[in-house]
């Protein structure tokens, strides 16, 4: 806002008649300022490429989005570059600015860290975070890990995809499609020194962007000098439900049931030797196996499910797969020992419990990612273990209704779950974090009835096991409780409000 007219000019002095100005004099010469939108020198050690976005220059035309889709041959619903809106102020001192974002090619890419199949690499020379469609199995875990909603799942292909900074074009000396298309020169590729950026990456933050702390985004944003302090996102009034991931709902509930059941079976077997527990063990093993067998249905490329073990060094998803597989194996052994009435069962049962608990722990850790605030709490751990205790105990209770303590264990599981859900809801509704508050608003809003039913079922699951020894009633209680937990896990998935970049108002909520 450098007005050539100063306030002092408003002392209205008569000005000289300007008839003498010749066209030549009046012509303002343009200084052709060379603008380099891509780096002109090679990268040095410790450096990488990054995007620079100038919010001052962006006029919100979305050329970058269209050009990106054309460059990458993506269908309209998938946008590796997106333009969001932020607003601030009061009319007429109101502002609406735009935010154009591709991938931030983070220093600590959470997509890469989470990937179970090592489909992601951070290019050692350019720092570009690359994704291999060949290696990808379509588990979509990266889409949960990224705080910016960058990786997007392409259902038609069964794999995710993301912005690769058009690094192949950069190598050829050509600008990325978005950079090339921008009529205002608002997008640029720069070189950044990674170590220095780690020390101070404040300019990776901007209104409408999640904190760069999650993964140290490398995108530098130039904000307008006059940006109003209340500038914020405009997409917060309508928060859509997330995808329910049905296969995962069943995988989680049934594996947790099985882990809980084996824990109870181990105790029963240890405390009251001679009980006929084999059928219970076989049934719960069966459920776990069905669940694990069904897990690949969640994948875009189920035939390649086996690859999920590759990332065990850093991915909780790989660890979950490993731990639950080990659990299934050990549990199978324990069941066999029950059938054959072999000695050493207390140890085998304990190992079953241990591997199962590790499995449930891995499941929970998998969901506890910064990009999904309502999952990223200890309530997730509590929820999963409560399910194990509630359903596992009820499951055994059906077959061994005479053991009162099993009923009490089930009630304790139900109570723990009720407490977990109540506290989680209250904490979220009081939170200063938008995504947490929004999650609680979904629970008390769009899915309120589901949430109330789920809580009601829990109350029943606490009371019923304590009042009955009838097999039929126990079985009914179990069925009810399983339904309740499935509903609960569905709520877990649909009510999470992920972090994301600010969306445009008209694109309807927070587009992936």
């Amino acid at each position: 806002m450098n007005l050539p007219l100063l306030e002092s000019d408003l002392v209205y002095m008569p000005v000289v008649l300007r008839g003498s100005v010749s066209p030549a004099e009046a012509l303002v010469q343009i200084q052709g300022e060379p603008r380099t939108l891509i780096p002109t020198r090679p990268l040095e050690e410790g450096e990488q490429y990054r995007f620079h976005f100038d919010m001052k220059k962006c006029i919100g035309c979305k050329c970058c989005v269209v050009a990106c889709n054309e460059q990458n041959g993506n269908p309209a619903a998938i946008n590796w570059r997106r333009v969001g809106e932020v607003e601030g102020g009061y009319y007429p001192q109101a502002q609406r600015y735009h935010l154009s974002m591709g991938c931030n090619h983070c220093v600590e890419p959470s997509c890469l860290i989470g990937c179970p199949v090592e489909a992601y690499t951070k290019d050692t020379r350019t720092g570009v975070v690359l994704h291999s469609a060949d290696a990808c199995i379509g588990c979509q875990y990266c889409t949960w890990n990224c705080s910016y909603g960058v990786p997007q799942y392409n259902a038609e292909r069964g794999v995710v995809g993301k912005c690769d900074m058009c690094h192949n074009r950069l190598d050829d000396g050509a600008a990325p499609a978005c950079v090339n298309a921008c009529p205002e020169g608002a997008i640029q590729i720069e070189i950044v020194n990674i170590a220095e950026w780690r020390k101070d990456y404040l300019s990776a933050n901007a209104p409408g962007l999640p904190s760069a702390d999650d993964s140290i985004s490398t995108t530098r944003v130039t904000l307008p000098d006059n940006l109003l302090p209340d500038t914020g996102r405009v997409d917060t009034h309508r928060v859509p439900l997330e995808h329910p991931h049905w296969p995962l709902v069943f995988v989680l509930v049934l594996t947790q049931l099985s882990v809980g059941a084996f824990a109870v079976l181990w105790l029963l077997d240890s405390l009251t030797p001679g009980s006929d527990l084999f059928l219970s063990a076989l049934a719960s093993l069966g459920l776990a196996s069905i669940a694990l067998g069904a897990a690949p249905l969640h994948l875009g490329r189920p035939a390649f499910a086996w690859r999920a073990l590759k990332g065990i060094r850093r991915s909780w998803l790989s660890r979950e797969v490993a731990a639950l597989s080990v659990f299934a194996g050990v549990a199978g052994g324990f069941a066999g020992m029950l059938f054959l009435d072999l000695p050493g069962r207390p140890l085998a049962g304990f190992l079953t419990l241990l591997s199962g608990a590790v499995g449930v722990l891995c499941s929970a850790k998998l969901y506890m990612v910064p990009a999904r605030p309502s999952w990223n709490t200890r309530y997730t751990l509590a929820e999963f273990f409560s399910t194990a205790l509630l359903l596992g105990s009820l499951f055994v209770h059906v077959m061994s209704p005479e053991q009162a303590w099993v009923g009490w264990a089930a009630a304790a599981g139900g109570a723990a779950q009720l407490l977990t859900q109540t506290l989680k809801f209250l904490t979220m509704s009081q939170s200063e974090t938008f995504e947490l508050r929004a999650s609680s608003l979904l629970l008390s809003g769009i899915v309120r009835r589901h949430f109330l039913i789920r809580m009601g079922v829990l109350v029943a699951a606490i009371v019923l096991p304590l009042t009955t020894t009838s097999v039929a009633l126990s079985a009914a209680t179990l069925t009810l409780a399983i339904a309740g937990e499935i509903l609960g896990r569905w709520l877990f998935f649909v009510s999470v409000v992920p972090k994301n970049i600010a969306a445009a108002f008209t694109t309807g909520g927070r587009a992936a």
Partner: protein
């Protein structure tokens, strides 16, 4: 989805493969064409050079034409996805005639015979002028020229107008009354060379985004934007004038008042080149800063600042679009803009011009060659010498030209309501979305004996009303020229064959002339559009819009050039009136003053809000084309209503609530509410592209007395929660 895809063995690697080619670099393999065809974008009047990539006879990609002087290697999102409009689902592939109430496929022979028979029968029964024609700004110049002759000389009706009347007629009238002729005097380069860029009623960031780079490239600019809404363009301003709706004329008069009061008038220029200064001084006495501040809601300081910035500019540019034109005082407002330029001599120099940034890709073409508001070559209906000259050029009897223009667009619609026009031919426009106060239009159309709609797409809200629908080839399927806002003539080329049985509008006009029996008389030995262009060159020779030196060969060789362009003229950027000689008989411009009036329908207790209408960058006009482009629909899928949160709070409304917009004329149902501080309390804004929620159900049919342009931009409405009243 195949089993192999379901299991994950097939990830459509081929579809998503990348490749390198010399012309594209590294890119999606399916977007690499066999050849690129250079042409000009078919959306707006910026007139960007564009290349269409063709593979196996289909348009599969677009890219900016690097050598084109206008767009400097850039395109807007519509241009970047323009190839999707050609082979779209909604394209009309064969003629359709209404039989027993239903549109059924017919042959071209039957369609053309029916058209001519029905039009002739109507004219025989009700008189020649009972046939009306509504055309467009979307055809190529050659087609406009051909159509003008067909309508005036072939059918002999003078009731012919274009949808350009809904768009830039006020600019035309304003230029004519100030300078003696239509013709935008400036050039885009002016935005780059001016030290003050004043945009009034022009949201170029949404509507002409490619022009923003001219401003971005200007290192010495002060940008002033006047708009009642904090538009994307307002965000580019150094000085933003949030004036009250439709007070632009008062602001401009107030600026002129200050220029005079503070001795910033270029007397030498005014004395040498204008008439009416003394009367103007007298007239402007009323427009004191105090009074103008009261009218506009702007502080006196802002008004002074604006006047001083413009008055002291070495080169001052004023650009405007529909905020000015869509007004019952549109012509007067354009006059007031021209007055500022004349008072300060800010015209005809680099950086200095009053430039109407026009709408459609070839609105200029129809203004120059058409038979609507003037005779071809900016000749005037009421000038005997102009009529005689044209009659001689065409070797026809002068008596075949009317001495005054026929009905303008809204008056044609009125005439259908009054049963005076009984047959109508609508070409490449969609009034069932775009005309204000749709009720009147529907009533008029229902009175017709015969309605022909010629379009590239079907169904559209308008083709659904038609008795006969003619399938036209569209952009990319035909050849010709477009002329843009800065008078630059660009070649339009054919990249692919017309879809189905579609024919170019040019060929349709020739075919109709053939049936009418006047083809040889009107179009002697014509076979191609180039024949039309070459005749037009002769007709334009010596006129302000002189095309005589422009040939297809020259355009192919040198690229787009600006008129006037005589044989051997220079390719440098040109401006009109550089010599201070205007198009009136005495070669002096007129300082035209018209008193400011409030807009016609003021808010009231029942309708307390002022509705403003406009566009969004993703869509074009009535969305006939852009609806077919998936990425544009993705980015802008539905209409919305912007309302200030303070107003919404009173009504208990929240963002995303579905609301109805209600005026005295009608109701738009179920619009998504967007609460935002970029609109003023007391005002609401809605885009006009969406037929599903058509804002023109409520806009007012009030028209500028001279230009006949509708006052789209302001009317009184109330907002109700959808379903609140039955």
């Amino acid at each position: 989805m195949s089993l192999s895809q379901l299991l994950g063995f097939d990830t459509l690697q081929k579809d998503y493969a990348f490749d390198r080619s010399a012309s594209t670099g590294y890119t999606s393999a399916k977007k690499i064409p066999e050849k690129w065809v250079a042409t000009t974008c078919g959306y707006c009047s910026v007139g960007c050079g564009i290349e269409l990539g063709v593979k196996e006879g289909k348009a599969i990609a677009t890219r900016p034409l690097a050598s084109h002087p206008v767009n400097r290697g850039k395109l807007c999102p519509k241009g970047l996805s323009e190839h999707y409009i050609i082979d779209a689902e909604n394209r009309l592939k064969h003629p359709m005639l209404r039989k027993n109430g239903k549109l059924v496929r017919v042959t071209w022979e039957e369609a053309l015979t029916t058209l001519v028979e029905k039009f002739r029968a109507t004219q025989t029964k009700y008189g020649a002028d009972s046939l009306g024609v509504l055309s467009t700004g979307q055809l190529v110049t050659e087609e406009f020229y051909t159509l003008g002759k067909l309508i005036q000389l072939g059918f002999g009706t003078k009731n012919y107008d274009g949808n350009t009347t809904l768009c830039m007629a006020s600019a035309v009238s304003g230029y004519k009354t100030s300078f003696g002729s239509d013709g935008p005097p400036g050039a885009y380069e002016d935005m780059e060379k001016a030290d003050v860029v004043f945009l009034i009623g022009a949201n170029i960031a949404d509507n002409h985004p490619i022009l923003c780079q001219c401003i971005e490239a200007n290192p010495h600019k002060t940008v002033i934007v006047a708009d009642p809404r904090v538009s994307k363009t307002a965000m580019m301003a150094d000085l933003f004038l949030p004036l009250k709706p439709r007070t632009d004329l008062a602001l401009l008069h107030g600026m002129a008042h200050i220029l005079i009061a503070h001795n910033m008038v270029n007397r030498e220029y005014v004395d040498a080149h204008t008439n009416g200064f003394d009367a103007m001084v007298e007239f402007l006495k009323d427009y004191t800063p105090e009074k103008v501040s009261e009218i506009t809601g702007l502080s006196q300081e802002l008004i002074y600042k604006t006047a001083f910035l413009y008055g002291r500019a070495k080169a001052g540019f004023i650009g405007w679009t529909m905020g000015v034109n869509h007004s019952t005082q549109g012509t007067a407002t354009v006059n007031a803009i021209n007055n500022l330029a004349l008072l300060t001599g800010q015209i005809g120099r680099a950086g200095a011009s009053p430039l109407s940034i026009t709408g459609q890709c070839n609105a200029m073409g129809t203004r120059e060659t058409g038979f609507t508001s003037g005779l071809p070559g900016y000749r005037k209906f009421d000038s005997p010498s102009d009529r005689a000259e044209l009659a001689a050029l065409w070797n026809v009897d002068e008596a075949r030209f009317p001495a005054k223009r026929g009905l303008a667009y809204p008056d044609i619609v009125e005439a259908t309501v009054a049963n005076k026009i009984k047959a109508l031919w609508i070409i490449a426009t969609n009034p069932l979305v775009s005309f204000p106060n749709q009720d009147t239009l529907r009533q008029g159309l229902s009175n017709l004996d015969f309605l022909v709609v010629q379009d590239g797409y079907h169904p559209t809200p308008t083709t659904e009303y038609a008795d006969l629908v003619l399938p036209a080839a569209i952009w990319g399927e035909k050849e010709g020229t477009y002329t843009n806002t800065e008078r630059r003539v660009s070649k339009v080329n054919k990249a692919v064959e017309p879809i189905g049985e579609a024919r170019s509008d040019f060929n349709i006009f020739l075919d109709v002339a053939e049936k009418l029996g006047c083809r040889e008389e009107l179009y002697p030995r014509w076979t191609t559009v180039e024949d039309a262009f070459n005749e037009w060159r002769k007709v334009s020779e010596g006129r302000l819009c002189d095309y005589s030196g422009i040939s297809y060969d020259l355009l192919a060789e040198k690229g787009a050039v600006q008129w006037p362009f005589t044989e051997g003229a220079s390719l440098e950027t040109s401006r009109l009136y550089a010599d201070g000689k205007f198009e009136f008989a005495d070669r002096r411009a007129k300082l035209v003053c018209e008193a400011w009036q409030p807009f016609p329908e003021q808010p009231s207790a029942g309708y307390p809000l002022i509705l403003n209408t406009g566009r969004t960058v993703e869509h074009w006009h009535t969305r006939t084309k852009t609806k077919e482009v998936p990425i544009l629909e993705r980015l802008s899928p539905v209409a919305w209503l912007e309302m200030n949160p303070r107003d919404a709070k009173l009504a208990g409304l929240r963002s995303h609530d579905p609301v109805d917009v209600v005026s005295r004329r009608g109701r738009v149902k179920g619009v998504e509410l967007r609460l935002t501080e970029i609109v003023a309390p007391g005002q609401v804004f809605m885009p006009f592209h969406f037929f599903e929620t058509n804002v023109n159900e409520v806009t007012q049919g009030a028209f500028d007395p001279i230009s006949r342009e509708p006052n789209y931009k302001q009317c009184a409405v109330r907002i109700e929660r959808t379903g609140a009243t039955k």
